[in-house]
């Protein structure tokens, strides 16, 4: 899995995940997301457009990230999910605890 971070016109950042978010790679994502919400700028859009696979190890980090975002007074949204990733989100009851949006435009608008 590769993680890339880019800034936007507004004060939000976009973090893109590419590949597999599983028990092997989830610690990399955990380190990034915990570091992000410990900094000053705390508005994050997660780009899952290139994410092919997620298991409970990845879901765990997303719940952790959402909690960190809330505790730090920040905001976290996720966009671009492939349909099979969305299915895992749905069976995990994530639509009620995470903000999931179709694309980057909607994600950045919600963080503006």
């Amino acid at each position: 899995m590769e993680i890339s971070t880019r800034s936007t016109d507004g004060n939000a950042m976009v973090m893109g995940l590419n590949g597999r978010l599983d028990a092997v790679t989830s610690h990399l994502f955990e380190r990034e997301i915990v570091a992000f919400f410990s900094k000053d700028s705390k508005r994050l859009a997660l780009d899952f457009g290139q994410l092919d696979y997620i298991s409970s190890a990845g879901l765990r980090v997303l719940i952790l990230g959402a909690k960190k975002s809330k505790e730090s007074g920040g905001a976290l949204v996720i966009f671009g999910l492939k349909s099979h990733i969305m299915e895992v989100f749905e069976i995990s009851g994530f639509s009620s605890i995470l903000t999931i949006l179709p694309g980057e435009t909607e994600a950045l608008a919600s963080l503006a």
Binding site: A23, Y53, S56, A57, H84, V88, I91, S92, G93, I97
Partner: protein, 144 residues
């Protein structure tokens, strides 16, 4: 169960499972969606063994793991076995998905995913081995 993979309960097993599924995908022309769901099921069951299984005395580990699969165009049957003390993954509590973010625990979704992604999930203890039997039916929309 014509297909078989022998492993040890170590994180390296996850890479071997992924590679094995890619081989099965080629051999049985499995749809990507089925391969992905099988991968999640197997990852969760293997991680459950790595985290919770206790070696049968006098063995000290690593715990032997065996995965068997029987595939047809209508269904996939998989047996995930580990030689350790009895441990029933189905005894793990079901997560409460209606809790709000503050009250949601950070983990505990692995076995839930196995239940939800499979059409049958049974546990038994057979001659020193924990056996999880998983069945997935190839639904019409999954066939290519």
């Amino acid at each position: 169960m014509p297909e078989r993979l022998e492993l040890s309960a170590t994180p390296e097993a996850l890479r071997q499972v992924k590679q094995w599924l890619q081989e099965l995908k080629g051999r049985y022309a499995l749809p990507d969606i089925i391969v992905g769901e099988l991968n999640v099921i197997l990852e969760e069951l293997v991680m459950n063994i790595i985290k919770h299984a206790k070696p049968t005395p006098p063995s000290l580990g690593p715990i032997p793991v065996r995965i068997e699969a029987d595939l047809s165009d209508r269904r996939v049957m998989v047996r995930v076995m580990d030689e350790s003390l009895p441990f029933d993954p189905l005894s793990r509590p079901k997560p409460n998905l209606s809790l709000d973010l503050n009250d949601r625990p950070i983990g505990g979704l692995g076995i839930h995913l196995v239940r939800e992604l499979s059409d049958r999930f049974q546990y038994s203890y057979e001659q020193g081995w924990n056996v999880s039997l998983i069945e997935k039916t190839m639904h019409q929309e999954n066939r290519e």
